[in-house]
């Protein structure tokens, strides 16, 4: 188990409440959720369908704002930030890996990985170098110039991971990262992410149904009906 060097958590969410309005009806996806995540952790959020996992991920990933409660990320109160500031913050500190890979189809693997750096304003040359390195790290340097439609599911997810890693984020959020992969690729991806967590110290937070992934994590947070019912450190 890797624990953070500082006692201050990387991410603290306190008393998060998230309500959605569907027409006249109110749906409370998260009731009163509080959670601390420390740097270097490799943890999973799991639970039945509709438990609020995705909502929690979105709030952690700063792509959704809670109806009530606070989110502190790397010492910064994100509640007070404006949209552009949150966006910049997110781009630098958080990486995303999606269930559906979400690569830009008209860009090559390398160009996809360069994208978050270019958005931040990094020069093309520097971006290219870092992207190449990231692809090497995930073992896809031979497929750099290929477009996503020429890559297998597993390869695409590896590109996505490279894209997430290339900005050297503090946290990577992966929403069901193995859901669309066969067992062989799933295992491969899990091992890759574990390796990244160990070698680079990047914090990983997943949502998953996949028991194999659950076996690999250090900590499991169980959500049911918008509340944390279990928070188990396994290793």
């Amino acid at each position: 188990m890797i624990t953070s060097n500082s006692t201050q958590p990387l991410l603290r969410i306190s008393d998060i409440h998230r309500r959605f309005m569907l027409g006249e009806t109110a749906i409370d996806a998260l009731h009163r959720v509080s959670l601390d995540i420390h740097s270097g952790e490799f943890l999973a959020v799991w639970g039945p369908s509709g438990s609020g996992k995705s909502t929690l991920m979105n709030i952690i990933g700063l792509i959704d704002t809670p109806t009530a409660g606070e989110v502190w990320f790397d010492g910064q109160d994100t509640h007070s930030l404006k949209d552009d500031s949150i966006t910049d913050f997110r781009g630098k500190k958080i990486g995303f890996v999606f269930q559906n890979f979400n690569l830009v189809p008209v860009l090559s693997a390398q160009e996809n990985v360069m994208l978050p750096l270019q958005i931040q304003g990094v020069t093309d040359t520097a971006a290219r170098d870092r992207a190449t390195q990231a692809l090497v790290d995930v073992g896809l340097d031979k497929f750099m110039t290929q477009r996503p439609d020429k890559l297998s599911g597993g390869q695409r997810q590896r590109v996505a991971i490279a894209r997430a890693l290339v900005v050297s984020p503090r946290l990577i959020i992966a929403d069901e990262p193995t859901a669309n992969l066969d067992s062989e690729n799933s295992t491969m991806i899990i091992e890759l992410m574990r390796q990244m967590n160990h070698s680079k110290g990047v914090t990983f937070v997943f949502t998953t149904h996949d028991p194999r992934l659950l076996e690999h994590v250090d900590r499991k947070v169980l959500l049911r009906d918008g509340l944390i019912v279990e928070d188990e450190v396994t290793q």
């Binding site: 552009d84 990486g95 860009l107």
Partner: protein, 419 residues
């Protein structure tokens, strides 16, 4: 961020849609450019027609009040011999002045010995007539040879030899070298008449005057009208049509300084034909321009709207990885701009090709109020082409702006969840 590359790649996502929109823009652009080129050719032709054909020159100097009352009380507004000489002396050496021609117009009855009919005559010095007509045709038109018989000539040694319009010659059954008599009332009301010989006839180019017009020497006119040395106006011909306005100001100032009050009119003010045709074509052009622009805007808006919807999830992804709202807008507006500029470029190519085709096809037509056919030619109106490029670019960018903004303002979680 390399928006340009992203924009270009974006266009290739749905090749067919991009191509359709591109073609729409190209055709619209070509339509506007070709029509602008056509009207440019028309304007050039009718301006030369007004200046050299109607013999208005570039500027006309008259006594104040002549345009209003001159027809009723001509004797009050004629320039005397001294006045004409003074004007010529003053303006002769001004830059850009190519010719100063005193003119005398009058009307009366012309008879062939059996019947008589009304005529309207222009008196002008034969040498001035020649100089005034230089520059009437472009090289292309001369090569087409359609107008050679429209240039007029007067013989300085034979003032009684005149040219009559074809309709008038037909009416009185006068052939070349045929005789007729012109009968007028002089300024003081006396009857005066002189024999004339018609050298040849000409088309006035205007169905309304072609049965009444006569071209005579200034001396003959002055003699017939009993107005030796007089003129009703002074025609000023310049070396460049672009000098019309600057020279008008200069001449006005110079005349005022010399204590001469004169009414100065430019050729486009005096040629009602030019003004009307110009106005009409301007209106038609504006109309066509608006229609094409509307079609282009709708096409681009539709295309961009669909693109944005299709790429909602991608937009969500980009926003997640750090792209600001403004960045999203920039991507789509840039795509639209690229599409439009490429469309305009293709349109320009199309314009050049079609223009070439039209110009070599040797098409002719007879415009309204005319008696002879005109060649159909299309110029390349660079000014309008550039204007169209710019305006289309702006308009297309705006057309993409709204859907792009809508996309940028969509909540990320909604965008990501979009199928």
């Amino acid at each position: 961020m390399n928006t340009l590359k992203l924009a270009f790649r974006g266009l290739s996502r749905n090749r067919r849609r991009s191509l359709m929109t591109l073609l729409t823009i190209a055709l619209g652009f070509a339509a506007i450019s070709l029509f602008a080129g056509y009207t440019h050719n028309i304007y050039s032709g009718i301006s030369r027609g007004a200046i050299h054909g109607e013999m208005l020159g570039h500027l006309t100097l008259r006594k104040p009040g002549m345009t209003k009352e001159g027809k009723l009380y001509p004797e009050r507004y004629l320039l005397s011999n001294d006045e004409v000489e003074k004007l010529i002396e003053l303006l002769r050496n001004e830059p850009h002045v190519k010719l100063l021609a005193p003119r005398l117009a009058f009307s009366g009855l012309i008879s062939n010995g059996r019947v008589s009919t009304i005529f309207l005559a222009e008196g002008i010095e034969p040498s001035a007539l020649k100089t005034l007509q230089d520059g009437m045709f472009t090289q292309a038109e001369i090569e087409r040879g359609a107008f050679i018989n429209m240039k007029k000539k007067l013989d300085p040694d034979h003032p009684e030899v005149v040219e009559l319009s074809t309709g008038l010659a037909d009416l009185l059954h006068i052939n070349n070298q045929g005789q007729a008599a012109m009968l007028v009332n002089t300024m003081s009301g006396q009857a005066n008449a002189l024999d004339v010989t018609m050298s040849k006839s000409f088309d006035t180019g205007n169905a309304g005057t072609n049965d009444k017009f006569a071209l005579v020497s200034l001396g003959f006119a002055q003699n017939l009208y009993d107005a030796a040395g007089h003129a009703d106006r002074l025609t000023v011909l310049l070396d460049e049509v672009t000098q019309t306005e600057p020279m008008r100001k200069l001449i006005h100032a110079k005349l005022q300084a010399a204590g001469l009050e004169m009414e100065i009119n430019s050729w486009n003010e005096l040629s009602s034909f030019y003004t009307q045709v110009h106005g009409m074509f301007n209106m038609i052009f504006g109309f066509i321009f608006l229609i094409v622009l509307t079609v282009v805007v709708m096409s681009v808006a539709n295309s961009m709207g669909m693109t944005v919807i299709e790429r909602t999830r991608e937009i969500g992804t980009l926003r997640s990885i750090g792209l600001r709202r403004a960045g999203v807008v920039r991507i789509f507006t840039m795509e639209s701009l690229m599409l439009t500029l490429n469309g305009c470029g293709m349109g320009l190519l199309l314009t050049v090709m079609v223009r070439y085709g039209i110009n070599v096809a040797n098409i002719s037509y007879t415009p309204p109020n005319s008696v002879s056919p005109t060649p159909l030619l299309v110029d390349l109106d660079v000014g309008h082409i550039v204007f169209t490029f710019v305006l289309m670019g702006i308009v297309a960018t705006l057309a993409a702006y709204l859907p792009a903004r809508r996309a940028a303002n969509t909540k990320i979680i909604d965008a990501l969840g979009h199928i």
